[in-house]
């Protein structure tokens, strides 16, 4: 019996810019199971990023609820949401978003350091995960000294170093060449298969979506029922 890792109920996110209201998410109810590798797809502007931001606790929905591993993550304090991001979630951005002042190793271990681990512990964790993404020889490089593909692998290592319940990735390959893109997707597959990492990835590449266990199609802030029908497990 599969355990639900993420549940959203009637999720709505409205942006109000002056008098204009933009419904980025209208009504999204989804369920993602533990150990699932899910791709979110849809046209540009359909609300994919907005959905991922809500799930990753980077933003708050205007309506609806989100349950992660049994926890209501909407009606909790900002402090608890921060703690949740640190301990339970990993986030990979399209544009890597590494801290330029930190080396690859430091970028990765900063979150482990924040968990009150000892220096040799968090360093070892960071080294292991960097080795797992194939960057054992780039640990002391600063982001500016790394290629886009390498930077994205550092950011994946950063997202995974605390062994999160869920890894989120928003178009992680959009800035990369095809070889690097393939590396990233293969890493996701590897972590999903080897350690059962739950992954939610936004992509606009159909072949990347096909590598996932399931695709959730989004259209105009709603689930695209027509397309989803074919992918329901």
């Amino acid at each position: 019996m599969k355990k639900a890792m993420i549940q959203t109920v009637h999720l709505e996110r409205v942006y109000a810019t002056g008098a204009v209201k933009t419904y980025a998410l209208r009504d999204i109810s989804i369920e993602i199971n533990e150990g699932e590798f899910v791709a979110i797809m849809g046209k540009s502007g359909s609300g994919k990023s907005t959905l991922l931001h809500q799930l990753g606790l980077l933003d708050k929905p205007t309506k609806g609820s989100i349950i992660i591993d049994g926890n209501d993550v909407i009606n909790i304090s900002e402090k608890e949401r921060t703690r949740f991001r640190l301990y339970e979630l990993g986030y990979v951005f399209q544009s890597y978003n590494l801290i330029p002042e930190l080396t690859a190793l430091e970028n990765v271990y900063i979150t482990a350091m924040a968990r009150n681990l000892k220096r040799d512990e968090y360093e070892k964790m960071a080294e292991e995960i960097l080795a797992a993404v194939g960057l054992e020889d780039r640990m002391y490089h600063y982001p500016s000294e790394l290629s886009g593909g390498q930077q994205q692998r550092v950011s994946i290592a950063r997202a995974l170093v605390n062994k999160p319940k869920i890894l989120f990735a928003d178009e992680p390959t959009a800035n990369l060449d095809s070889a690097s893109s393939e590396d990233v997707i293969n890493l996701f597959r590897k972590f999903n298969e080897e350690i059962g990492q739950t992954i939610v990835m936004v992509t606009h590449e159909k072949d990347e979506g096909d590598k996932a266990d399931r695709i959730i199609w989004v259209k105009d802030g709603l689930l695209d029922m027509e397309k989803n029908a074919g992918y329901l497990i």
Partner: protein, 400 residues
């Protein structure tokens, strides 16, 4: 806040500081220069005021000046009084003087002028005439036909274009003095003095004994008695000791005697306070703005740190620490450079019309300036980083 939070805070601050060395150096330089601009100018003004007062003390008034009561013209029995005061422990010097005026003549030039009668050796302890001789020599006790003349009366020491009436004399030339009682005598110029003070350098100085020769026998009178103390600030306690001797004359402190000069120094100090305060405010604003811009530039970094789960307090703390590092380093460098400047200027004082000015930096000014600049840097680190840390994560990262 846990101890681990502090660790992360220090780590982030340290990495930011060491990775952006140019920023660090620029901000620290601005800090140090602000520090210098405030303290240096102020210390020159303070030094100027001090030198001004010192010029008066070492030329006109001593630390204490005994003068006759309103109704009297002279202090009588002054010789014994001088001896008694000299016996008070700690007194550095006591000298009596007599004042008169005379018309001085050299060739065709005549100038009405104050004449000061001094006891050359005693005078050395209370004033700086002896060390201000720029040509010839100081008076000795036995000189009867010699005088000292202030540089302000001598043509060769006048500034170019100066039209004031002066004597075209040099050491060895003879000047004729005609006193109010008709007594006339020729004196040879033994020395020319220049203390640097306009108030002091316009006198003719001759020996104390000459007074009796000119005006006839007196009851050991003096116009005033100057007393030098170990340092400023002891005037009150020594006044009491002198009163205890049974002195019934006026005992005036230099501050009282200064009058207009005191007011001048006072307004100098007020000006200094005002410019100092404006300087501090300007420095505060400058530092606030540069650190503000620096932190604002780190908005994205702050957003990312929040996104990966770093606590707001840690992020803010790391920026306050960085600002504190700018502030403390800037103030330390400012202090060091200032100390060096002060050292340099104490070896090579600034020559100003009133004398050799050595800048004075009071501990109070040093502390206020240092504290204000450090405070400015903390405030400048705190508010912008709090603003950035309170911002929506997505806006911070994507620049909404």
């Amino acid at each position: 806040m846990e101890s681990n939070d502090l660790k992360v805070m220090f780590f982030l601050a340290y990495k930011n500081l060491t990775k952006s060395k140019i920023t660090f150096m620029v901000i620290v330089a601005v800090m140090a220069m602000s520090f210098l601009s405030i303290t240096f100018f102020a210390s020159i003004i303070d030094g100027l005021g001090y030198e001004f007062e010192e010029g008066m003390i070492r030329g006109q008034t001593g630390h204490l000046m005994i003068e006759p009561q309103e109704d009297d013209l002279y202090i009588s029995g002054s010789g014994d009084l001088v001896k008694d005061i000299r016996r008070i422990p700690g007194v550095v010097g006591v000298a009596r003087r007599l004042d008169a005026s005379a018309v001085a003549r050299y060739e065709t030039i005549e100038i009405g002028n104050p004449v000061l009668f001094i006891e050359p050796e005693n005078e050395k302890d209370v004033s700086d005439y002896w060390s201000s001789i720029i040509a010839g020599e100081y008076l000795s006790e036995r000189d009867t036909d010699e005088l000292l003349i202030g540089a302000n009366l001598v043509k060769s020491y006048a500034a170019e274009g100066d039209t004031q009436k002066r004597f075209d004399v040099d050491v060895g030339d003879k000047i004729t003095l005609s006193f109010s009682n008709g007594f006339v005598k020729e004196y040879r110029i033994k020395g020319i003095y220049k203390t640097g003070s306009r108030f002091v350098d316009d006198k003719i100085i001759i020996n104390f004994d000459q007074y009796q020769l000119i005006f006839g026998p007196t009851e050991d009178i003096a116009s005033n008695i100057l007393i030098a103390l170990p340092q400023r600030g002891m005037e009150g306690s020594y006044t009491e000791k002198i009163i205890d001797l049974g002195v019934s004359e006026q005992i005036n402190k230099w501050q009282t005697k200064m009058g207009a000069v005191n007011q001048f120094v006072g307004s100098l100090q007020i000006t200094n306070q005002i410019t100092g305060t404006i300087g501090l405010l300007t420095a505060f604003a400058t530092i606030y703005i540069i650190i503000f811009i620096n932190v604002t530039n780190k908005r994205k970094q702050i957003g990312i740190l929040k996104a990966i789960g770093i606590k707001k307090q840690i992020i803010m703390g790391s920026y306050v620490l960085q600002s504190l590092a700018y502030g403390i380093t800037g103030v330390i460098i400012g202090n060091i450079v200032m100390k060096l400047l002060l050292l340099l200027l104490s070896i090579h004082p600034l020559s100003m019309p009133i004398g050799q000015v050595v800048p004075i930096l009071t501990t109070e000014r040093l502390m206020t300036t240092s504290a204000t600049l450090i405070l400015a840097s903390i405030v400048a680190g705190f508010f912008p980083s709090r603003k950035a840390a309170d911002e929506n994560i997505l806006d911070a990262i994507f620049g909404g």
